[in-house]
Symmetry: C2
Subunit: 325 residues, 2 copies
């Protein structure tokens, strides 16, 4: 990027189950009340966003009035978690819908807008809530439906990143806006497979455009492909002659302990990649444990209705390249 844009501050908040997982100690806050003190799960997700934003603003020493642009979105119909959280902040707000790719989409959009000079400080914010998502996308929780082996567990979690033009430790080094890929998957419980081709396409395009190889990065991180999707991503890339297996990490595989937490193929949801980025990878960059990462979040762009109508699941992956300055 021509005018450098930096990560000023970031925060993550996670729910009880996510707090019991291997990364429990990485999140800024773990909240055991699934309602976050509000009346409904949908309102809880708004509160989750507000809590996460508040923590990030506190770390940056800024208030909501200092944010010139907020890029936010979530999985709820009409993205209401974000609409209601942005109502509380008063920030200029671009609503995004990228499903679980939203943190990467928000980071790219906020970074480019900041680079273009319309913002001194900008925000990328996203979240997901297990209970709100499950009943919207699959079944009412009280129905107690069986989950299939390829299913993933929508995380109750959020991440917030504040980008600024003043020099800080971590710089936005590049990005790649995704195109829609569709493998023909029609099973709403196998979204990792639906999203893997999009991640492969975006990662390959970025490596090719920058003339870099997987070994140039400490980590190539995907958002929530889970076990099946991650394996497929590695297979697709190997067939194209690119081996990312030694540097690949998937937030969906990291956030839960599959053997003890009964989460099948791993975590998912906008908040999965966002919270693991803000809870694990950004601190690693800040400490100097990593110098250079690609964060390629993936989103499955179907709706329950489109799946019921027999349409296959289109997917997208946006990528952002972050590194020590």
């Amino acid at each position: 990027m021509s005018a450098p844009v930096y990560i000023n501050a970031y925060a993550s908040v996670a729910g009880e189950k996510e707090g019991q997982g291997p990364l429990g100690s990485c999140f800024d806050r773990v909240v055991t009340d699934s309602h976050f003190g509000r009346d409904t799960w949908e309102q809880a997700e708004t509160q989750l966003q507000l809590d996460t934003l508040s923590l990030a603003l506190g770390k940056a020493g800024l208030s909501a009035e200092d944010i010139d642009l907020a890029c936010a979105g979530d999985l709820e119909n009409q993205c209401i978690a974000s609409a209601y959280s942005m109502r509380e902040t008063g920030c200029p707000f671009l609503g995004l819908y990228g499903a679980c790719s939203t943190m990467a989409e928000g980071l790219i959009t906020a970074a480019l807008m900041t680079e273009a000079g319309i913002a001194e400080h900008s925000l990328a914010l996203t979240s997901s809530h297990f209970s709100a998502a499950e009943r919207q996308f699959r079944f009412p929780l009280s129905y107690g439906g069986q989950r299939t082996p390829t299913a993933q567990w929508t995380c109750t979690a959020a991440g917030a990143v504040i980008l600024s033009r003043s020099s800080c430790g971590i710089r936005v080094k590049g990005g790649c806006i995704g195109t829609v890929a569709d493998l023909g998957i029609t099973d709403i419980n196998n979204m990792g497979s639906a999203m893997a081709p999009a991640a492969a396409d975006t990662i390959l395009r970025y490596l090719s455009a920058t003339g870099t190889a997987p070994e140039d990065y400490d980590f190539i991180v995907t958002g929530d492909l889970g076990i099946v999707g991650s394996s497929l991503l590695n297979d697709i890339l190997l067939k194209q002659g690119t081996d990312i297996s030694s540097v690949h990490r998937d937030c969906g595989m990291m956030i839960f302990d599959g053997s003890s937490q009964d989460t099948h193929c791993g975590g998912s949801g906008c908040g999965c990649g966002a919270s693991v980025l803000c809870g694990y990878f950004l601190p690693a960059l800040e400490r100097g444990d990593a110098g250079n990462i690609l964060f390629a979040a993936t989103g499955a762009l179907m709706s329950p209705l489109s799946v019921q109508q027999g349409s296959s699941i289109p997917a997208i992956s946006h990528l952002i390249h972050l590194g020590k300055d």
Copy 2:
């Protein structure tokens, strides 16, 4: 804007009822088949977007591969109309959710990205479909529910605008990203009132930031406030000492003949403002009948679920300033 961005080409497509309205002859194409040749209304909306994009690309002498960035969104849950249309194009795609403000949000985002140098040609695309929207937001059409006096009629329509860096007749002169406003309206059939404060706020902020007055513009256009919302907008602004009544036009009031088409307070939906912008106002700028317009599209950011839960309706308005070069 520092590096000028231009409107290269634009197109509009509308449904049968919109084609029978006062602007029927303005649209590039009127389609009487509400299914647009597809099996479902949701798929019809995707086809509507593809048809509109195809017309705009044809006018620009470009193909989808020439589009470096597409900014698109719609009203359907998870924005599936746009996800499935973008699957056909292969364009790098930023998914937006701004409800009926989407055309302005897309124009601002695409223009700033183009100015930032990441796109030579970019696209803003949005749509709405009466039948898909009504059953999602209100009642199944076959239920035959009574519509209340403040209700508006979701338009079956779409607009596509291609922005380019090379000089064309109409230039993007500025814009304003909205903040969320909430008047406390809880009636999903009175969205004009819910959206009017957001439009007032954004218009006032733009006039103030640019040191301009309503008389500096040929038209100050709102997207779909309808009769009730437009009246409220004028009242709010008058109380702040700003009289836009002589230059104000509302696409929702223009697209239908209220006395003969039984559309109550007028048209609504992302496609309402988008199709009237592309069918009426951009041609007026191109012909020289107008030299300078503000297009302030408004979006109501609730979901049926948030309204059922008793939450009031938050709204946003994004504004773009277009004029002869």
